[in-house]
């Protein structure tokens, strides 16, 4: 900032003042300005990307996932600039009209330009925060495609692979990649004939072995880089256990405890409750679930419903399934919940 801001403001011709400031800039500053000018070009070329060299792609990821952009804009920009999806496909993936997605993208591009969001890999001290923003966007894309939108999930895995190629020594990148591969390995078993199949009922012969192997090797790489695991690495370790023939639910519970300490997230606590239930104590799991404040989070209600059902509290289970059904967002989830509900009717005399 100028040494005397008010004096700077008083100067009659603002542009002349700015020119003056520019004259005083060092050569390094001038180079920085030049780089800014290039940002404009790069973001305009967003539509004909793909040939961009590795180094430029990495910068582009950080630009697209800058925290000064709204999350949905980060997601859309990342998919458009680095994924292989057209604006129409992204719009379809997120259930918005193509025009809306077009506006969202051009607004985001305009903000990058006007606000001066840098086209660069962030400085070391910013890197941990910025990298976790990038990983969050990739994971969000993956989750969007978790049940019904396999194309989005594949796109997220592609982005994860790209990141792992571009930054070879970040354990959390491998952790996220492993997590996505391991979850995706169960895709064919998770939704069958349009209906969600819970883990315990999945046909393991439908698991994609190659993806499980790739996921486990990414997990191994992450752990080799840093033995103290971050949140994605822990989740990948959980997913790896869940790909086993006989799942060690006690071990899964321990990992969720660890993850909960790291993130303080009630959603993680909810998952820990599921692990506790699978390890054999539905009662203790329900106690934990009911202590959580998760409002209208749909999996809170479906988990609670399932636990009530296992404990034979059918009336309450039905109510909870009904609420979960109202909150469900994909057809496969709806079909599964509707089936559970229909199973609860005949067994009840009231």
């Amino acid at each position: 900032m100028p040494q005397y801001p008010v004096a700077w403001l008083v100067t009659t011709g603002r542009n002349r003042a700015i020119d003056g400031l520019r004259r005083e800039r060092t050569l390094e500053d001038k180079t920085r300005l030049l780089r800014n000018d290039r940002l404009t070009v790069t973001m305009d070329e967003i539509d004909l990307d793909d040939s961009t060299v590795a180094d430029e792609r990495l910068k582009l990821i950080f630009t697209c996932c800058h925290p000064a952009l709204a999350t949905e804009a980060q997601v859309a920009l990342t998919l458009r600039a680095l994924g292989g999806l057209s604006t129409r496909e992204i719009a379809r993936g997120f259930l918005v009209p193509e025009e809306t997605m077009k506006r969202r993208l051009s607004r985001a591009k305009a903000k990058i330009k006007a606000a001066g969001i840098p086209f660069a890999v962030p400085a070391d001290r910013l890197l941990p925060d910025r990298l976790s923003a990038v990983l969050a966007v990739v994971y969000l894309i993956f989750n969007e495609g978790y049940t019904d939108r396999g194309d989005l999930a594949s796109e997220a895995i592609r982005l994860g692979r790209l990141l792992a190629e571009l930054m070879t020594d970040e354990p959390e990148i491998y952790g996220l990649l492993a997590l996505m591969l391991l979850h995706d390995s169960r895709r064919e078993a998770r939704v069958v004939a349009g209906e969600l199949v819970p883990l315990a009922y999945q046909d393991r012969s439908r698991y994609d072995r190659a993806k499980i192997d790739a996921g486990r090797s990414a997990l191994g790489r992450a752990l080799a880089l840093r033995p103290t695991a971050g949140p994605y690495v822990i989740q990948a370790a959980i997913a790896s256990l869940q790909a086993d023939e006989n799942i060690d639910w006690d071990e899964v519970t321990v990992l969720y405890e660890h993850l909960e300490r790291l993130t303080g997230s009630p959603v993680v606590a909810l998952n820990r409750a599921v692990a506790i239930a699978e390890a054999g104590s539905a009662g203790r799991a329900l106690e934990l679930v009911e202590s959580l404040d998760l409002g209208d989070y749909r999996y809170f209600h479906s988990t609670r419903a399932e636990l009530l059902r296992r404990l034979g509290r059918d009336d309450e289970a039905r109510q909870a399934f009904e609420r979960a059904l109202r909150l469900a967002v994909t057809d496969s989830e709806r079909r599964f919940l509707a089936r559970r509900l229909s199973e609860l009717w005949p067994s009840d005399g009231s």
């Binding site: 900032m1 801001p5 403001l9 542009n15 800014n36 305009a110 903000k111 606000a115 910013l126």
Partner: protein
């Protein structure tokens, strides 16, 4: 229009001013339990009042954010909005 703005600027009582870019270009910084929260968009809580401003010369948004994050008001429950200025430039066209 332009002439009217020029006349205002030439009024000796006018000490300065700048044309802000539209609100869509704003970025807001807040404190969330000790962590800096950076979000897209302007600071819109009308119950609050504007308490001051800095005019800053930064080479990009990260540099502006770094400066803005040092403003103590953020730690006291306030928010800081960063808004680019319109640098007009007759000859410096797009």
């Amino acid at each position: 229009m332009n002439a009217a703005y020029l006349a205002l600027r030439d009024d000796p009582r006018c000490l300065g001013g700048a044309h802000l870019q539209p609100a869509e270009t704003a970025t807001t910084i807040r404190d969330n339990l000790g962590e800096t929260l950076i979000t897209d968009g302007p600071f819109a809580d009308t119950k609050e009042v504007l308490g001051g401003y800095y005019v800053l010369d930064a080479s990009d948004l990260d540099e502006a954010l770094e400066f803005a994050q040092r403003i103590p008001a953020i730690r006291l429950g306030g928010a800081v909005e960063i808004r680019p200025l319109v640098v007009i430039p007759a000859e410096d066209a797009f």
